[in-house]
Subunit: 314 residues, 6 copies
C-alpha cells in the first residue's frame, strides 16, 4: 500500500494506520447509534461506517485520532468505502504521528521561504519591496503552514506557500517572454494575493472559515493590511494604491468576489497566473487517479467536467 | 422663467444668465471651428452651439464662466437645444455668482449636520458611536459638500449629506416598525455607507473619479478607513468587523461591486434603504418634468424605463 | 417547553402533545413498514420515524391527528429529529384542539380588519376606494385566514392579512417621508397585491396550489378581478388600468412573474415595500433560532445565505 | 419601378408618387431649418432630406401627405437615401390615394374572415367554440385591419389576421401529424393569442402603443376579455381557465412577457407555431432583398444575424 | 397487464417476465449485500431491491437477464417500486426473448427506410441528393437501429430513424405552406442532422457515449463526414459548405452546442422542426401516464415543468 | 515623425506619405460630395475629410493609393483627425511602396518558419508530428502572411505566425514548470489552433470573412482538415480524435464558439496560452499610447476597460 488509501480498488484488503478526520454519530434505521468516520492518509480520504457503536466507542473514535484498521474496500454508488472488520486506537508503541497522515506540500518550508526571499530581494522599487517584505514577515509562520484553500486546489498543509512559489516561477517565465511587464508589481502581487487567507481561514488542519473570513474575505483583509503597512512604514507613493488594486482585482470578475476588475496590466496577468497554477494543481491530482483511455471523476471547480486521459498516455 | 432653463418648451425665448458647464471646440463641415456649450442653471442643463467661433471667443467661453445669453429654445431629435442669438461674458456689474447656477440640496448644510449629529448622539454602543463620530469628523467638510454620485441620483452639491439625512429618517421609520433591528448598526451604516465618495470623487462641482476612486472604489476606501479609525481609537470588539462588513456589502450583489453579500440583517436592510432613497430621488426628478397622461424620458438607472404619470395626477 | 418543539436541543427529553402535519408510509431495509411523521406545534415542525408500524398504527397516525408523544431530540445530519419512545392519539379528556398547534399571525383578525378598513376610509379617490373596498368585501373571510405563501415568509394562518397590515404601516411611513407619493394608489396596491392568493392557494392549513393557481397565478387572477369589479361598479376612469398595472407589475421583474415592469412610481415603491416586509419576516424568524456569535441556517429565498448574529447582540 | 422604392440601387433615378410617413424639422449646421422625410410605398420606406426648408414647405410636407418626387438614390453609410431634386404635393388630378402606398396583407379581408370562420365551425367543444366566436365577433373590424406588431413581423395593414390565418393552416398540418393534439384548444389559441393587440395598439397605420397597451399588454388584456366573455356567456367549465392559460403562456418564457410557462401541451405547441410563422415572415421579407451569394441586412429580432442566400438559389 | 409495468398503481400484484436493465450490488445498513435491480419491459422501467442477496444470486441476476418475478407495486417517496416476493431467471421453456422487453419505434425499419428513400428520390439538386444518399447508405444499418438519444426523447431502438421520418413529414407540411423554402436543403438537413449519433453513441441498447462522441460530438462528426463524402464523390459546389453549415447550426444556439448560429433560412427552420418533434415525443409519453385533471411528473428537458392534462380531456 | 501618425498630438503639423485604407463618398449638408479617408502607416490609422471633392478627386483617392499629405492634427470628440491642407497622389519619383505603410509582425517570416519547424522537429509522437507537419506544409504560404484576426489582437500582416511563435515559447516555458504536460499535444495544438483562419479570412490586407468562414468558422474548418490529413497519411490512432478535440475546444466555452469544452488537460492549457498571448498583445499596444498617470482608451475585447498606467512607470 505504498500509494495510500485512495489508490485501492474495490475488493482489496486493508490493514493499516489511518487518521480520523471527522466522526459523526447517527441513529440507524434499527434505532441503534453508529459512527460515520472519514479516514485520511497522505493520499486523501475514505469513508467508513462503524455500526452499533457503543458509548465508549463514540468516545474513543473522535476526529484527529489515529487508529489501526483492517477491513476491505467496497464500492457503494460509484464511490469507494472502507468496510471495517477490526479497529483500535493507536498506542504509543505504534509510533505513529499525525503528520504522517496529513498531506503537505512537496517542498520543505525553508526551501519555499528561501525562494520567496530571493524574489523579494530582486525587486527594484523600494516601496513595493518594503511593503511586501513587511507583510510576509508579519505573517511568516502561518503563511508557511496554511493551505491555499479549504477545497478544490492546494488544500493541504503549506499549500499556500507552495502555490505562491509555483506562481512566482510562472510569473518569472512570463515576464521573460513579455518584457513590458513590471516584475516588482507581478512578484508582489503573487506573494500577497492570498496572504489574507491566514486570517480568513482557521488553520492548517481541519480548515474552516473564521467569522472575519466570512464577513470580509481574504481580499479585503489583505487590502486593509497593505494600507496599514504603508502607514507604519510611512510610505505614501502611488505604489500603495496600485498594490491594493492588484490584490483587490485578482479574482478577475465582480461575480468571483473582486469589487473592481483589473485595470492595470500586471493585475490582469496576475489573475491568469493564479488561474493556471490552480487549475494545473486540480488537473494533475485528478488525472493521477485516472487510467489511460478513461474519463476522470467530475472536477467541481472546472464546471464539473470529466477529463479524458488519452490512451496513448501512460 | 422662475423654474429655470430645463422647464422651457421649444419656441420660447431666452434672455438670462447661465453658467458654462463644459465647452468643446470642434470643426464644422465647412472647416470652421465652433463651440458646443453645455449651459446650466439650478434646474439642470441645456446644450447650445456657437458657430464660427473666433479664437477670442474660444478663449472667452470656457467652463465655469457665467454668460448672458439671449436666444430661443429649439427641439432637435427630441431634445431641447438653445439657439444662441447673443452672448457675452458676465461682468462684475451683473453681480452674479457661480452658486446661483449650481443645483444643491434643498436643506442647509448646518441643518443636515445637526440632524446627523443627533442620530449619532442616540447611539448606545460606544464602539459604533465612536468610530462613526471619528470618521464623520475627519471628513466633515467634504461630506457636507460632495454629491452622492456623478449622475443618476443626488448628483448635486451637498447631495451626499442630503441622501444620508433622508436615509436616516427612513431607517428610523423602519426601525420603529421592526423593533428587532439594531439602530446603532443601521444608523452607522447609513452615515458611513457612501462616505468613501469624498475620496473616490474629485469634488462638489464638475465631479469626476479620482485615480484612487477608479482603482479602489468608495466601498474599499471606507472599509480601510474604518480599520484605521479602530486602530487609532484602540477599539477591538467585533463591532469593527461588523461595521466593515455592512459597508462592504451594501451594494447587495457581487455584480454591483460588493465583494460579499449582506450576511447581517442590518446590512440587508441598509441596502434596501439606500435603494429606496436613490430611486425616489430619480423618480421625483423625472416625473417633475412629465405631464399627467404622458410617459417620462427613459430613466437610465431604472432599466431605461419610461414612467407614466396617471392623468388623474395633477 | 414554553417556546415549542423547534427550540429544543439534541439530548433534551420531550413529553407533550403535537399535531401530525404529514404521515408517509415507507418500507424499511428490513422489509417492514414504517411511518415518517412530521409533527408541528406553534413554533414549527420536527420529523420523527415510527418503526415497524402495524396496519393499526398506520391507520391511527394520519395527518391532522393530535398525539401525545414522549421521546428525545436527536441530531441527524445537522437537523433535529424526534426519537419516539411512546406515542398515543389524544383523547377528549386531553382537551387539546388543532388551533393550539398551528402557527398564526400575532394579531387578532378583527384588529387587522379594523386597521385595513381605516386605511381604506382615508382614501380620497372614490374610484380607487370603491374597487378596493368591493374586492376586500368579496373575499373578506379567506383574506383574514389565508397564509401569504406556502413557504418562505408569512406561511401561517392569517399570514396574508398580517403581511398586508405590516406593509400598510410601512407604506404610510414612507409616504410621510416622500410626500409626492399617491397614498391611495399605494394603499390600494398593498391591500390587493396578494389578494389573488385566496384563489391561487387551497386554504389556510396544509396549503397547496389550486389548478387555477398553477395555470394563472395570483397576479393574473387579481388583475381579472379588478376588471370585473370595475364593470360591476360601473367605474371607467384610468384608475382601473392603473390599479391593474400596479398589481401586474408588483413582482418587479419579468423573471419573477410580472409580465410588465413597474411603469408608475407607486408600482415601483409597492415592490420595495413588499420585499422589505417579506425579508424582515424571514430574517426575524431565522435569527430567532440563531445564537449570538453564530451563523444561521441557510435561508432559501435569500440566495441560500447564512446570516450572522453579532456576538454583541443578545 | 414595378417593385417599389426599396428595390432601387444607388445611382438609379426616381420619379414617382410617395407617401410621407414622418416629417421631422431640424436645424442644420448652417443654422437653417431642414426636413427629414421618411417616404413610403408598398415596398417599404426610404429617407430623404429637404434642405433649407421654408416655413411654407414645413407646412406642406407633413405626415400622411402624398407627394410627387424626382431625384436619385444615393448610398449613405451603407443605407440608401433619396436625394430630392424636385418635390410637390399631389393634387386631385394625380388620382392617387393613401392605400396605394401602404403595405397590406396579400389576402383579402373577406377571404381571411371566411377561413377563420371555417376553423371555428369545425370546433367540437361548445365552450371553447362560443368564447372564441364571441370575442372574434366583438373585435371583428379592428381584427381584420390591425397589424400583428409595430415592427419585426407582419407590421402591415391586416397583418394580424394574415398571421392568424397562416398559423391556423400550420396548426392544422401539425395536428394532422400529431393526432394527440386537441384541435379546439389549438385553433382557439391561434385565433385569440394576439387579439388583445386591437387594444394594445393604436390602429392600422402609424401604429403606436396605447396607454393601456403599455401598462397591461395584449396578453393580460385578452386574458381579461376571456374572463368577461365567459361571464357574459355564462360558461363555467375548466375550459375558461385553460384558454386563459394558453393565451397567458404563449410567449413561452417569463422574460418574454408570459407570467406563466406553458403547462398544457397545446400551449407549448402554440408558442412554436407562433414563432415559426413570425420568423418565416421576417426571413422571407429580408431575403427577398438579398441577392444569391450575399448576406442580408442584420435582422433585429433574430439576434441581429445576417442571413446568407446560397449562390445556387435564384 | 396489457399496458406494462409502468402503468400499474401501488397495491397491484405483479406476476410476469421482466428484463434486468441494470443490477447494482450494495451493502445494507445491517452489513449484508443486496441488489438494486432496474427491470424493464416495453412500457418502461421500475426499480426493485433484492435483500440479503447471496453470491449466487448476485451472479444470476445481472443486466440483460430475463427473469420471472412476482410481487407487489409499492409507492416510495412518490415513485413506484416493485417489492419482490419471488424471482427466478427465465428458462428456454419460457420462450421469451430480449426484443419482447425493449421499447422500439412504432414503425417497421423497412417502412421507415422506404419513406426516407422516397424523400431523397424527390430531391432536385444532384449534389445535395448524392451526398445525402451516400451517407445514408454508408451508415444504413446503425441508422435504422440506433436511438435518437440516451434519454429525454426517442431513446428507444430505431428512435433515430423514427425521429427522422416524423421530421420529414413535418418538413414537407411546412414547405407546402411556405413555398420559399428549399426542400432539398430541408430534407437533407433532416436526414443528416443526427446521423453522427451512430458514431457518438455506443449502440441501440444500454446506450452510452463513445470516446469520440464525448470528445467531438455528433455535430462535428457529421460535418466531417459530409466533407469526406464530397471529396469521395468529387463534388465541389457551395452545396457542401451549405449542408455542413445546416448540420453545424441545427442546435440553434452556441450554448446548446452549435458553434455557429443558423445563417441560412432552412437551417433556422430545421432547428424548429427538430424541436417540435422532440418535444411532442416527450409530451405525448409524459401525458400518456397522466390522468385528466392532474399534473404530470416533471419533464427534465422542458425546464422541469409539470404539465396539466385538462379534466375535459379523456 | 519617427513613430508614425498615431503618435502625434492635436496641433502638430503633418507632412508625409500615407496609404489610403478606405475612401467613402458622402453628401455634405450643403449638398456637395466629400470623401471620408482613413489613412494608415505602420503605426496605425487616422481619419480625414476631403471637402467639396470633385469627381476627379473621388477617382484619384481610392483605397490602396499612397498619397502625400500636409495638414494638421485636430481633436474631434476625443479622437484625433487629420485636417488636410494639401494632398496629391504619390508618383514613381517618390519611391514609396505599400509595404512601407502596412503594419507587420516584428519578426521575419523565415525566422518564424524556422522556429516553428524546430518545435515540430522536437515532437516524439510520430502521428501528431506527421499531421502537424502535413497541414503546416499545405498552408505554408498563407500561414506566414495572414493576420491572426481582423481586429482586437495580432491584426497585422504575418500576425498569425507571430501569435503562434509567441505561444510556442510560452507553451515551452509552462511545460518546463509543469512536467506532466504532453508537449507534443501542446505544440501541435498551438500550431494548428488558428490555422483554419487562412480559409476563414480573405487575405493579409483589408481582411474580411469569406463565405466559408462565416458559415463554418476556422475551428470547424481545421477539425475537418485534420480528419482529411489523417486519411491521406493513413493515420488511425486516437491521436487524430484527440488533436481534433483540442482544436475544437480551444475557445474554452460554448458561447465563445467551441462546441465542446476542453476535456483533455492540454486542451485546457492551450486555451489559457492563447488567451495570455492575445491579451498581452492588446495590452501592450494599448498602453504604448498611454502616458504614465493616465487611463488608456477603452479596450473592446477586455470588457471595454480603460487600463491605468501607473505614474511610476515611465
Amino acid at each position: 500500500m505504498t500509494q495510500g488509501i485512495t489508490f485501492l480498488d474495490a475488493g482489496q484488503a486493508v490493514d493499516c494506520f489511518l487518521l480520523i478526520k471527522t466522526a459523526t454519530k447517527s441513529i440507524a434505521v434499527n434505532g441503534k447509534p453508529y459512527l460515520t468516520l472519514i479516514f485520511q492518509d497522505k493520499s486523501g480520504e475514505i469513508e467508513a461506517k462503524l455500526w452499533d457503536a457503543s458509548d465508549g466507542e463514540v468516545q474513543k473514535y473522535q476526529a484527529e485520532t489515529i487508529v489501526k484498521v483492517s477491513g476491505e474496500i467496497q464500492n457503494y454508488r460509484g464511490r469507494n468505502q472502507l468496510k471495517i472488520k477490526q479497529i483500535r486506537p493507536s498506542t504509543e508503541q505504534d509510533a505513529v504521528q499525525i503528520q504522517d497522515f496529513v498531506q503537505s506540500a512537496p517542498l520543505e518550508k525553508t526551501e519555499m521561504a528561501d525562494t520567496i526571499t530571493q524574489f523579494i530581494f530582486e525587486m527594484k522599487n523600494p516601496n513595493i519591496q518594503r511593503i511586501t517584505r513587511h507583510l510576509l514577515k508579519k505573517y511568516h509562520q502561518p503563511f508557511l503552514e496554511f493551505p491555499a484553500a479549504t477545497k478544490n486546489h492546494h488544500e493541504f498543509v503549506s499549500g499556500l506557500a507552495y502555490h505562491v512559489v509555483s506562481m512566482l516561477k510562472l510569473a518569472k517565465a512570463i515576464a521573460d517572454l513579455y518584457p513590458s511587464l513590471d516584475r516588482d508589481l507581478l512578484y508582489a502581487g503573487v506573494i500577497l494575493h492570498d496572504l489574507g487567507k491566514v486570517i480568513e481561514l482557521s488553520g492548517p488542519i481541519s480548515t474552516t472559515y473564521t467569522v472575519e473570513g466570512n464577513l470580509l474575505g481574504h481580499i479585503t483583509i489583505m487590502v486593509n493590511e497593505i494600507g496599514k503597512a504603508a502607514d507604519e512604514l510611512q510610505i505614501q507613493g502611488e505604489e500603495v494604491t496600485v498594490l491594493q488594486h492588484i490584490i483587490l482585482s485578482h479574482h478577475g470578475k465582480l461575480e468571483w468576489g473582486s469589487p473592481k476588475l483589473p485595470l492595470i496590466k500586471e493585475a490582469e496577468i496576475l489573475h491568469y497566473i493564479d488561474n493556471i497554477d490552480a487549475k494545473m494543481n486540480m488537473l494533475d491530482r485528478t488525472l493521477e487517479r485516472t487510467k489511460p483511455g478513461e474519463f476522470s471523476e467530475k472536477v467541481f471547480a472546472l464546471d464539473h467536467r470529466s477529463f479524458y486521459k488519452p490512451s496513448f498516455h501512460k
